[in-house]
Structures are given as C-alpha cells and as structure tokens.
Amino acid sequence: MKAINESAPAGKANFINTMTQKLGPLLGLIVLIIIVSVLNPSFLEPLNILNLLRQVAINALIAFGMTFVILTGGIDLSVGAILALSSALTAGMIVSGIDPILAILVGCILGAVMGMVNGLLITKGKMAPFIATLASMTAFRGLTLVYTKGNPITGLGDNHLFQLFGRGYFLGIPVPAITMIITFAILFIILHKTPFGRKTYAIGGNEKASLISGIKVDKVKVMIYGLSGLLAALAGAILTSRLNSAQPTAGTSYELDAIAAVVLGGTSLSGGKGRIFGTLVGALIIGTLNNGLNLLGVSSFYQMVVKGIVIIIAVLLDRKKSA
C-alpha cells in the first residue's frame, strides 16, 4: 500500500521531469526572446524574425545532420570544410556553364560522398570519429584551397532560381527558412517514425548490442555521416547563393556552432539520447543570441563572452532539471 502511495508522486515527478527535459531548451529560448525584446522591441518586428530565420537556416541544417551523428555517439568536425569544398565545386560547375540547380544537386551528392568517406574511415578504418573527421576536415579544407587557389569563385551569373535559393522569398518567407523547415519535417519523421531512426538511437545507446541484434551498424553509420555531409553541402549551396560566390574559407568553425546547437537542444554527446526538435530550438537560441546581441549593440568581444556564458548556463540548467 505504502509503496503504491509513494510511487504515484514519483510517477508524476517523472512526468514533470520528462516534460521539462523536453521543454527545457524551448523555455530557454522563450526566456531569451523575452529578455531581448524587452531590451530592444524592434527584435520582434516581423522583418527581423524573418531575418533571424534566414540567418539560422545554415547552422540549423548542419546541426540537423550533426544530431544524427551525435546520436550514434559520433561527432563530425568536417562539416564546415565539406560546406566549403562542395560550395567551391558547385560554384565551379556553375561558372563552367552547368545549370545552377543541377550544379547544386551534384554538389549535394558530392557532399554526401565526402561524408561517407568519413563514415568509412570510422567504420572500416575503426578510427575515432573525432580524429577521423579532424583529419578529413584538414584535408577537405586543403582541397578547397587547392581547387580555388585560395580565391573566391565569382561570376555565378544571375539564374533566378539560384538567387532565390539563398536570397529569395516564397509567400513572404525567406527561401532558406523554408528549406530548413521542410528538411526538419523530413528528418523528424525519419528519426522518430522509422526503423532507421530507431537504429540511430540504438547504435548510440549500445553499439555492441545493436550489432548482436542484427543492425548493420557500419552501414547505418556510413549513411548517417553521408547525411551529415549532404546537409552541410545543402547549407553550402544556400551560402553560395547568399554570398553570390564560393569562399574558400567559408564554414570555418561552423562545426562548433552546430555542435553547440545540438547540445543546447538537449542531445547527449555520449549518444543515444536526444531529439531533433531540440536541435532546431538550439539553433534558434544561438541565432537569437547573435541577432539579439547585435541589435543591443553589444561589442563583438563581449558577445563572445556572453555566448560562452549563456551556453554554460543553459547546459547547467538543463542538467539541473533532468537531475
């Protein structure tokens, strides 16, 4: 009797726990938005919100892929370099006369291939993901510089669709934001509603057991690193359109922002635990921070300090809640 009485509140506490765990990052975002908009009401202007969404799209897309990678217990440091290399290759194709949309498509495939190289190093080569992608990051960045000779690639013409891709609007919403939302929806379904998603969690939760359960761990991992590369390339295409050029140094340290978004979204770096919705929220937190601090006129040096501290606080609060 006693035990049952006691366990009832425990069940409730559990429920509250999971709810705050799920909502934790979202609450953080809301608090942040309130603070920023009190300090500078122009933050909430529709134009700025649309702006923000467009700014967030690139980091969010990369972070979506990173979420899958981190869920398997891995990490992908090469996303920024993949973005740069695929962007350069895409721009190169466009300059050489290939249809821009086709070029973007091919660029995304090349990005996926680069990601799969990571996956192969990690699975077949049995390298730690950190070191494999650190090395490939260096190599891809080098290749980008070799290919571009260190110069930006310009002269991408004025194909309307191509320009729309990074700069345009559809029904008043920036196209990059639309791309982000559609991608999110697709990935959400894959992660939470299909066997592939289950496998992703399973590998991160217990790789050995997954193997014994007949999951083709290596294959799934290669696909996931491929996905990460693909999304980095997609983000790269948006950037190429926004900058109307391919920059050899594009994407430098984007991996860190993407990882920060994933972690702020509550996904555990040790794998097996987390949600892609959290990542979207995490990317929005970072974006709001960047945009908000700019709007508040905080100097870029202090911005870094604030960003570091906000990440720490957010993660600490999250730990507290789930503890």
Partner: protein, 278 residues
Amino acid sequence: KPAKKENLKDIKIGLSVSTLNNPFFVSLKDGVIKEAKSLGMEVKVVDAQNDSAKQINDVEDLIQQGVDLLLINPTDSAAISTAVQSANNINIPVITLDRSADKGKVEALVASDNIKGGEMAAEYIVDQLGEKVQVAELEGVPGASATRERGKGFHNVADTKLTVTAKQAADFDRTKGLTVMENLIQANPDIKAVFAHNDEMALGAIEAINSSGKDIMVIGFDGNDDALNAIKAGKLEATVAQQPQLIGKLAVDAGRDVVQGKKVEKMIPAPLKLVTKE
C-alpha cells in the same frame, strides 16, 4: 525610405568591420567613431570576425536597427555584394572601406591603393639591394583582397627585377609569420629580403631572422605602432604605411556628404607612404 537628413545628430551610422582582431581595423574603427563623434553622429559597430556569412547577417541586423548610412569594410569583395544589394533595395547608402564590393551600388570606396603599395615595396628592395636578389613573400589570408592586390603589385615589379624564391601564406598573423619564416630560411638560405603583406607577419618574421643570425631585410605593410617602433630600433627595414584612422575619417566625411545630398568621388584614396628609418 530614409529622407535626406539635415540635422547630423539624427544620423545613425552602421559600421561593419571584417575583424577587430587586427590593430589595423581597430584604428580604422576608431577613425570612424572619432570623426562621427565630432560631427555628433551615432555609430553602431558590428564585427564579422573574418566570416563573410556572418558579415551579411551583421549588415542585415544593422539595417534592422534603422541605420541611415552603412560603412562596410568587407571581409570579401565578392561575398559582400548581396548585402550591398539589400541595402540598395531600401535606399540606404553604402560606403566601403579598405576593400571594395564587386556588385551593388556603392557611393564610394575609401582605401589605400594596395596594388601600388605592393609595387612600392618591391621597388624599394630593388633600390636597396639591386636587381635579381632572392626574396621571399609572406602572404596574407588566402583570398583576401589585400592579399591578392598586394601580391599582384609586388609581382608586377618583382617578377622582372627580383627572384621570388619562396612564398607562403601566414594569414596576416604574427605567430604564423614567425614559424613560416623559420622554415623558409631553412629551405632557402640565400634569401636577402622578405616582403610581408602586413606588419604583423613582418614582426613575426623578424624574430625568426634574429634567431637564425642571418641578415635579411624585412618590409612590412600597414605602418602600425609596433612596426614604426621596430623601424626606429633598426629591426624592421621599412613599411608601406597605410592610414587606417584617415580611411575611417574620410569614409564618415563622404557619408555625411551623401546623406546631405552632395556628390562624392567614387574612389577616395588614402595616401600610402613608405616609412623607413630616415
């Protein structure tokens, strides 16, 4: 659409700098702020940290804050174009500093002539050491317009009158200047002079040369305080001095004129000066 503003006190300037981790741009920013202050204008500063994508976001954020005039020091000339175009779309005048924008309507570019500067450096070496001596080149951040243009100017002269035996990127960074130079000396023992695309790298290179015990002439670019001191101390041979404060000041002045509806020159050069010990 921002109307012509007669009262300067109502004018809000947005300044987007490529990076503030470099004394050159800090001076440039200071020049802008000082001049704006003396004219009673307000300045909002954003720092792109050398990331073109961040710079576009920064400019959007400035526009969002309702600035009347944009001063942009582009991280990259090509990449900034779309941001300039966004400003054009809502008729906010744009002036670029130190580096140009490839596309979009820019009222004026205030900059040193980097190609000319590169040529000046090469010619100085020829004057001092004669033709066909072996020289090395420390390049700036790959792809940056300053790197390209200074390199271009330098090679305009050096390719015919000097022998460039080695060139490596040291990213406008003093630490890299040091290590890259150490290796260059080892690989090319007969180098007689070095042209560094900025003073930071030049100062790093000097430390490397000192510990090698060789006698190699170093020419920098920028003319920052450290470099001028080093020239006084006889460590640095010469520098192609830019006047970043002046670039900032000229840009604000041009901006004022634009907002008040006056005509300004498309290209406003800030004078370069070769500084040597004499």
